[in-house]
C-alpha cells in the first residue's frame, strides 16, 4: 500500500492530457462528420436523408459504452488490430458526429424558409445558399448547444476507462487500487472533471440566454 502523495496526484493530473486528447480528437473528427450528417439531413435526396436519420438514431439510442465495446471487439474481427486508443477515437468520433449532426440540423432548419426563397430569387445555387446564407446564420444559433455537447463529450470519455484506456477515470481507478484511498482519489478525479466542464457549462448557459434575448428582440414568436 502506498500513501496518496504528490506522485499519485501528478499521475492523475498527467492523465488529463489523454482525456483532453480524446475530447479534442473526437470533436475534430466528429465535427467534420457532424457537418456531413447535418447537410445530409437537409439536402433534397430522400434516400440520403434516411441514411442520416438512421445513423443519428443508431448512435443516439444506444449506450456509448456498447458503441465502444463493439468498436473495440468488432474491428479486431475484420483483421484491423485496434488498441484501446483507436477504438475509443472511432466510437467517440461517430458518437459525436451523430449528436452534433442532430444539433446542427436543428440550427439549419431553424432558419426561416423565406431565406431559401430569397436566395433562389437572387439565383444563388443550392450549395451557395447553404454556404453563404443559411450556415452563417445557423452557426450563431448552434454555438450554445454545441458547447453544451462538449461537456457531454468530455464526461463521455470516462467510459473508455472500461476498455482499459488510461485517461483520468482509469488513472483514478489505478491509484485508488494501490493507495486504498478511494475517497481522496475520486474526489480529485471528480474535481478535475468539474474544472474541465464547469466553465463550458457556464459559457453554454450564458450564450443561450444572450441568444434568446437577441432573437426575441428581432423576431417575436408566439410560443
Amino acid at each position: 500500500m502506498r500513501p496518496f502523495g504528490p506522485t499519485e496526484l501528478f499521475f492523475i493530473i498527467a492523465a488529463l492530457r489523454w482525456t483532453a486528447a480524446l475530447s479534442l480528437g473526437a470533436l475534430l473528427l466528429g465535427g467534420i462528420g457532424g457537418v456531413l450528417v447535418a447537410v445530409a439531413r437537409v439536402q433534397p435526396a430522400r434516400w440520403l436523408r434516411w441514411i442520416a436519420i438512421g445513423f443519428i438514431e443508431l448512435f443516439q439510442d444506444t449506450p456509448l459504452l456498447l458503441q465502444l465495446f463493439v468498436a473495440f471487439f468488432g474491428l479486431g474481427i475484420i483483421g484491423i488490430n485496434v488498441d484501446a486508443w483507436t477504438a475509443a477515437m472511432i466510437a467517440l468520433s461517430l458518437h459525436t458526429a451523430a449528436f452534433l449532426g442532430e444539433i446542427w440540423r436543428g440550427s439549419l432548419e431553424a432558419i426561416p424558409a423565406t431565406q431559401w426563397e430569397a436566395s433562389r430569387a437572387l439565383s444563388l445555387t443550392w450549395v451557395q445558399t447553404l454556404r453563404l446564407v443559411i450556415m452563417p446564420q445557423a452557426a450563431r444559433i448552434s454555438v450554445a448547444p454545441t458547447v453544451g455537447f462538449l461537456v457531454q463529450l468530455i464526461k463521455g470519455t470516462s467510459v473508455t476507462a472500461l476498455i482499459g484506456f488510461l485517461e483520468i477515470t482509469r488513472a483514478g481507478q489505478l491509484v485508488s487500487n494501490v493507495t486504498l484511498q478511494p475517497f481522496t482519489v475520486y474526489s480529485v478525479v471528480a474535481g478535475l472533471y468539474v474544472l474541465l466542464c464547469w466553465p463550458l457549462s457556464f459559457a453554454s448557459q450564458r450564450l443561450e440566454s444572450r441568444l434568446s434575448i437577441s432573437t426575441r428582440r428581432t423576431e417575436p414568436r408566439a410560443a
Binding site: 438514431e57 443508431l58 439510442d61 444506444t62 449506450p63 456509448l64 459504452l65 456498447l66 458503441q67 465495446f69 463493439v70 471487439f73 468488432g74 479486431g76 474481427i77 475484420i78 483483421g79 461537456v151 464526461k155 463521455g156 470516462s158 467510459v159 476507462a161 472500461l162 477515470t169 483514478g172 481507478q173 485508488s176 484511498q181 478511494p182 475517497f183 482519489v185 475520486y186 474526489s187 478525479v189 471528480a190 472533471y193 468539474v194 466542464c197 464547469w198 457549462s201
Partner: protein
Amino acid sequence: MISYTFQFGAVFAAFDTLLLGAWLTIRLTALSVLLGLAIAVLCAYARMNGPRWAGLLVRVYVELIRNTPLLVQLFFVFFALPMAGVRFTPDEAALLTMATNLGAYASEILRAGVEAVPRAQIEAGEALGLRPVQVFRFIIFRPALRTVFPALASQFVLLLLGSAVVSAVSAEELTSAANVLQSRTFRAFEVYAVVLGIYLVMATLFRLAFRVAYHALFERGRA
C-alpha cells in the same frame, strides 16, 4: 482478409439471460426515475421558494452532478462512501447513483418549466377566485408539465442508456449480463452487437411510449 466466422448461435442460445438483464435495466431505470423525480421536486421547490442557503446547496449539488461523469459518481458511491462507513451492494450503489444523477438534471428541467408559466396567468387565476390548490393544479402544474414533458422523456432515455456503465461494479443489468455471457462464450463482438440492438429497441419503444403518453395527456380533444 476476413477469416472470421460469425457465430450468433451461442448468443441466441442464452438470449433469455439477456432478456432478464434488459428487464433489470428497465426496473433499475424506472426506480431511479421515481426516486430522482422526488429529489428533483424537492430541489426545484427549495431553489425557488426555500431559504437562501437551501437554494445555494441545491445549486452546488446540480453543478457537481452535471459536470462529472456518471461513472465517476458510481465509483464514488461504491468505493469511496464505504470509507465513510456506508456500504452498498452493487445494485444499491447503481440505484443511488442513477437517482442522484437524474435528480440534478430533472430539478433544472422542472424549474425551467415552472418559471416559464407567465406571472400574469397566475394573477389572472387568483383574480378569477381560484383557490391556491386550483391555481397550482391548473395554471402552474399542468402547463409546466406539458412544457417540460419532452425534456424529461429524453432525460429518461439518456438515463436508460447511461445505466450501461453501472456494469462496471457488476450491478445486475443488461450490460453486466452481456459481460458474463461474453466471458463464457468468447463471442465478444456477437454478444455486444446483439445487446446494442436490445438497447436500441428499448430506447425506441420508450420514446414511442412517451410520445403516445404526451398526446393522451395533453393533446386529446384539441384541434
